[in-house]
């Protein structure tokens, strides 16, 4: 126990002896982990929005003018027989108009809709809203529906989904490059910091070797130093992300609630709750920061152990 406390104290003392280099290392690790956390949060949320878009928006089927209710019923049965459908609901022209007024006119619904009097601008816009069990079957289902003569148009979340997926890919690549670069800089800086401390403690290490200290005992304060750098580097961005994310969560919710232009996207415009994000975020940050500090210091100090 005494040895552990001694090594911890020496590790802390190393940090103090070498404040500027330690700070530079910690800041670089923090920047690296912050960027990683930021990218992680963006990716998680884009995936979340993509999923919500796929499941919430569903497939909307519009009919040809003059299609009879019988034909529409036949289509419904055919779709259900085809399988994979979780829910299929019919939306009449009147319901579509009500929904439109609610989505786009908001509080001034009655006033703005008055101009249309009894005319329903969506008279030919009755439709089926179809939700699938498995979103991956969406493309095949759309193709199947398009095969029917009475189908005029099929809308589905394809454009939103593919835009979000493209965004995700861009984020993956850009963040991957930046994070790799920052990791390399962090490794270089931690290694330099440890080398500098080892140089400052050369005299002490030589004495330790001659007294009979094991390599582990000589190495321990440096590994503690590296690990602490990693820990600081992980804690700072986590605290920062915690603050930023919670603010963002509130802002997005407020925006979605107050916006009249989002329309159907209102339902999907929400961030993944922070309580679901932080366990993975904190684990990844700690593994990255502490792991990097530990490993870099462990291997850097090896060359100083030969006395």
């Amino acid at each position: 126990m005494g040895t552990v406390i001694y090594c911890l104290k020496q590790g802390l003392s190393n940090l103090k002896k070498n404040v500027l280099f330690s700070a530079a290392s910690a800041v670089t690790i923090a920047a690296c982990i912050f960027l990683f956390s930021l990218c992680y949060c963006i990716i998680v949320n884009v995936q979340h929005i993509t999923y919500k878009a796929e499941t919430t928006i569903g497939i909307t089927v519009f009919f040809d003018e003059g299609a009879t209710m019988e034909q529409k019923e036949e289509l419904k049965n055919a779709i259900l027989e085809h399988g994979g459908v979780k829910e299929i609901t019919y939306m009449s022209a009147e319901e579509a108009w009500e929904s439109f007024k609610e989505d786009y006119f908001g509080d001034r619904s009655e006033e703005l809709a008055a101009a249309f009097a009894d005319d329903n601008p969506l008279a030919d816009s009755d439709s089926y809203e179809i939700f699938l069990n498995n979103i991956e079957d969406q493309e095949a289902e759309v193709e199947f529906i398009r095969g029917f003569d009475i189908v005029r148009e099929v809308n589905y979340a394809n454009s939103i989904v593919s835009a979000l997926e493209s965004l995700n890919r861009v984020i993956y690549v850009v963040s991957g490059v930046i994070i790799t670069l920052l990791f390399c800089i962090s490794i270089f800086l931690i290694s330099n910091t440890i080398n500098l401390t080892a140089h400052m403690r050369k005299h002490e290490n030589e004495i330790m070797k001659m007294i009979g200290a094991t390599n582990g005992m000589i190495r321990a304060p440096f590994v503690v130093e590296g690990t602490l750098l990693g820990l600081i580097g992980a804690a700072v961005p986590f605290a920062l992300m915690c603050y930023i994310y919670k603010r963002a969560e509130l802002k997005v919710a407020e925006y979605a609630m107050g916006s009249s232009t989002l329309g159907a996207l209102k339902d999907i415009a929400e961030l993944v709750p922070f309580s679901l994000v932080y366990p993975k975020l904190i684990t990844a940050g700690l593994v990255l920061g502490v792991g990097m500090g530990f490993l870099v210091s462990f291997f850097t100090i090896r060359k100083h152990l030969k006395v």
């Binding site: 005494g2 040895t3 002490e204 007294i211 009979g212 006395v307």
Partner: protein, 262 residues
């Protein structure tokens, strides 16, 4: 016991630092190792501390063949040695107590043992009153006492001192030698490397003289009570304390005792 059997050390650049050394230092002996710069004294010391390994021959310390010592066994072996340096090598950011305790901390000794042993060593070396002082507040003699206390605290069987009085004035040198003699009287083997002929002459102990990597003389002052391991021709003959050994070829050792004629 320290024993060298036909030991040679060849450095990478082809320099032969020591050649064909045969030497035996018994437990409890007090020995001076002396010679000019470049004679091979430090190499001999490094062979004992296992900083270097012999190119040829065997170095045996306390029954261990150092060449066969595995890297992970070296720390444990070094705990049997106490090393004292000319420049003291104290940690300037720690006080006397912490400098001595350091030797126990780094080998993972329990705190209770450290608390018991440090005051004991400070008392033995006469620096108890300075326990809070930092190294730069101490005289050279006091710093060397701290270094000796640090070397002794792990209860080594051998003390290796490399020019322990090199940075000290005459008075402090005498005190340090008196302290090392006391330690030797308690049963610890003491091997001192020194350039100082005056010091060697005043102590009347066994003296090993090296030159160009070989032992050229190994004698003892007749007034000392320790057995002599070897006895060779040397320039000390001029001082009338050594006798010529016609059989000496740089490798063989002739064991004689102090009953022999001087």
């Amino acid at each position: 016991m320290i024993e060298f059997k036909n030991v040679s050390k060849l450095y990478r650049k082809g320099v032969r630092a020591v050649r064909n050394i045969n030497l035996k230092v018994d437990d409890g002996e007090f020995v001076f190792l002396t010679g000019k710069s470049g004679a091979g004294k430090s190499t001999l010391l490094k062979l004992i501390t296992r900083e270097l390994t012999a190119s040829d021959g065997e170095v045996i310390v306390n029954g261990r063949d150092l060449k066969r010592l595995k890297d992970r066994e070296i720390p444990k072996y070094r705990r049997e040695l106490g090393i004292v340096f000319q420049d003291f090598r104290l940690l300037n950011d720690r006080n006397v107590y912490e400098n001595i305790a350091f030797a126990q901390r780094v080998i993972g000794a329990p705190l209770s043992e450290i608390r018991k042993n440090v005051p004991m060593m400070m008392q033995l070396t006469g620096i108890s009153s300075k326990y809070k002082s930092m190294p730069d507040q101490l005289s050279g003699g006091e710093q060397q006492r701290v270094a000796i206390a640090r070397a002794l605290i792990n209860r080594p069987s051998v003390i290796l001192a490399d020019e322990p009085t090199g940075n000290l004035d005459e008075k402090n040198s005498e005190e340090i030698m008196r302290l090392l003699t006391e330690i030797n009287n308690m049963g610890t083997t003491v091997l001192i490397i020194t350039h100082s002929r005056q010091l060697v002459e005043s102590m009347k102990k066994r003296v090993i003289v090296m030159d160009k990597g070989t032992i050229v003389d190994d004698y003892i002052d007749p007034s000392a009570n320790k057995p002599v391991s070897a006895f060779f021709e040397s320039e000390t003959k001029k001082r009338g304390r050594s006798r010529k050994n016609p059989e000496f070829n740089g490798a063989g050792l002739k064991i004689v005792t102090d009953e022999d004629e001087w």
